[in-house]
Amino acid sequence: MLTTWQPPGGSEELAIRFGDDTGPCLLVLPAWFDEGNKTRHFTIETMRLLAGRGVPSVLPDLPGCNESLTGLTEQTLATWREAAAAAAAQFGCSQVLAIRAGANIAPGLPGFAYAPLAGKSALRALLRARTLAAKEAGHPETTEALLQTGKVEGLELAGYHLGAAMVAELAEAVLAPSALVPLDPGGPLLWLRAEPEHNPEQAAALADLIAEGMTA
């Protein structure tokens, strides 16, 4: 069901909850940007299956994402980290599931990581998509030049307008050693898929791993 929450900064953001909303729940930090679109269906279905396994979960919109009225350009890794921590506190989350680049902003909760991706690698893929498209269109750009401009003026990558601070932070963002348990449900890597697709067996496998991990 849809609900709302307030990140630091005073905006109101949407969140989707599944399962019993009276006890502790699992904070879901989704993949980012185009990977977020490609794994949205999978993420929501995994949450639905988790509820059926007795694990309530919540997926908050980060400021600047999805239905947010806040500008993405104003966001930084720091504002997203603060937002994730605030969401965890407001929804009483005891554990976290970080998917792909979501691992970069996981609050200090125990939990799980599915195919964690460093911010640096997320940015590299977005920059590469832009340089490839530019080359095809006959006006080549270089990653290095884009990055230098982006750190000063911000950058539009795959339709997302990232601010200068976010570009600069992502360029340096490596994954810190984490206590999150890595999960491998097997099956295709849905974030690579050129045409977004869902995989019910994989969602069930991931939900099983999480449900087992939470009761262990």
């Binding site: 893929a125 977005l126 590469r128 998509a129 832009r130 490839l132 295709p188 690579l192 045409e195 697709e197």
Partner: protein, 97 residues
């Protein structure tokens, strides 16, 4: 048996398996279709959904799994046009270490 070769040179078949697995995921191919990919199978420019975002995802995943870095100026239409060209490129990069 030479023992001082990098693992990537010692296991060229590994590169083929990694590339097929990534292409299966990018293009949503069945295992049968993936197994049928031949050196001359067309990729970039031949498959409409294999666009710049899909190629970017593929190359970044290849970098991660093969532990190589692919530079801007190495990425062009020729290297991506067929399965064989892509396999040759990645195998050479891995051999260079």
């Amino acid at each position: 048996m030479t023992t001082n070769l990098p693992a990537s040179v010692a296991n060229p078949e590994d590169t083929d398996a990694i590339l097929r697995s990534i292409l299966r995921d990018v293009l949503g191919l069945s295992d049968e279709r993936v197994a049928e990919l031949a050196a001359g199978s067309g990729l970039f420019g031949h498959i409409p959904e294999f666009d710049s975002m899909a190629v970017a995802g593929l190359l970044t995943e290849v970098e991660d799994r093969c532990d190589i870095l692919i530079e801007d100026d190495e990425v062009d239409g020729d290297m991506l046009e067929t399965y064989g060209a892509l396999l040759t490129f990645v195998s050479t990069k891995r051999a260079e270490g």
